[in-house]
Symmetry: D2
Subunit: 162 residues, 4 copies
Amino acid sequence: MTESIPFRDTGRKELEFTVEPDLSPSNPNYADFVRHQFADATFIRALGIELADFGPGWVETRAALRPDLLQQDGFAHAGVVSTMADHSAGGSAGTLCPVGKKVLTVEFKINLLRPGKGESLRCRAQVIRAGRTITVSESEVFAIDAGVEKLIAKALVTLALV
Amino acid sequence: MTESIPFRDTGRKELEFTVEPDLSPSNPNYADFVRHQFADATFIRALGIELADFGPGWVETRAALRPDLLQQDGFAHAGVVSTMADHSAGGSAGTLCPVGKKVLTVEFKINLLRPGKGESLRCRAQVIRAGRTITVSESEVFAIDAGVEKLIAKALVTLALV
Amino acid sequence: MTESIPFRDTGRKELEFTVEPDLSPSNPNYADFVRHQFADATFIRALGIELADFGPGWVETRAALRPDLLQQDGFAHAGVVSTMADHSAGGSAGTLCPVGKKVLTVEFKINLLRPGKGESLRCRAQVIRAGRTITVSESEVFAIDAGVEKLIAKALVTLALV
Amino acid sequence: MTESIPFRDTGRKELEFTVEPDLSPSNPNYADFVRHQFADATFIRALGIELADFGPGWVETRAALRPDLLQQDGFAHAGVVSTMADHSAGGSAGTLCPVGKKVLTVEFKINLLRPGKGESLRCRAQVIRAGRTITVSESEVFAIDAGVEKLIAKALVTLALV
């Protein structure tokens, strides 16, 4: 069920809870599963993307913005930001993945909202729909520049549990 | 700037404010502009999509789920849900549109999360990035069925101010 | 298997065949199934979207660009174009849908490339990946204006067979 | 203008030419521009993505599928495939980029159609709409496994010329 706080014209987004009614993991060892999703993916290790925190239905990741992760203008490459958004979304689905299944990305869409510059990136992924075979998550990627954090990308990710 | 409330494993999404620092309309008559966006679009009137409320950077719309808006299984057609998500996003960008420009949809992506069944649909669109020529909004569509509201779709919409 | 004709710099796109190896319908009455997908969707009938032709893995549809299908600038509303792209994609998946299953849109993304103006719209949808539970199609929408046809939108659509 | 070859039910996709009428580069040194797009992006070099060929409106790239580019099941990571699709699309827009401007990704959507396994990846990106400030390209990524090439991903990419 969705709880709604009414919108008012306050110049500030009034928040709405669009939480799934039941995001309880069916796998008691889901923490191991998620850690393996990150440890076993060579590309994620190569990019230095680290699992920072997670819980049922969500994952938070971090990565230093190294010199080898940039595009031609010196900002984080869209591919780096996308990898982080995609893999974190996969992790969020992984927290709810039944024993014996695995998570695959079906597709995703990402908007690059601002240049990714600064010391590091942070990503938060949240399941917004947990189905038996299809899970949908959204990921937000932030750049941390001189201590200030800005939203630089937002993604919607469709994942399959196979 | 983005304010962040830390994530904790509460089984519930901790909310994060990803509000634009400055979503103040440059057009003092932006309300008229938004109303015209809805009143002048014949397709929106034909579908019965109504502008329910709005403010700087956001719009809320509603539509009765009429018998002519369904797909073959009796649920709201994805095209109806998409039209609502797209046009509401356009309205949210319209609240910030400078005088003399207009809003066009460049592209959008929408995930249909649940069947759209019930009496009516509600959509909330919020600007997540306001640029000079490109604005990005997200839209959430809810179905109201016997008084219970459920999130049935989420969209990311890229709009051009031309 | 994919056949490839090499790219050359001819100022013209060299074509590449990216056809699925096996797009043969498992349902001998697939034609009935597809016709019902269109006849039973009230919203499609309301918009005047007609099934013009189809075969295994593809569908072609047409619609007159009526005055009630426009946005505020007098062009085809993005919602109309999206509905056509989505439903035609659903039809293309429908040609390959096993008996006893039905087709639902999981998500789609559409780029509006040019204003949709003219007498009518035409859409062609083609399956680019036929899976057991997930099918992916692409749709191209054309506007026909004074006899000249222009590509006005392109969509990638993910469909579930449930 | 769009040339159309009629669809017939041949069990094989009839091809349609949806080429832009005018994809002629305004920059006489566009070849240098595109080569710099690849040479100056550290992330692209780090992944071993190479510019194989290009012409007005299109780019072709290749990459060996190295052990450090995989996900947890041993296939090409979606982030690798996405990076290739995105950057190649940027290159295709780069062939048409006016002097003094540069290409930025606004957003993209990618469908992962099959597991990316084999020796190498190939990507072809083609501009489908060249505007003054916004260009839209599509990218197809193929995996080459024991000499057989399969389409593993398709992307639609929106780029800004700024």
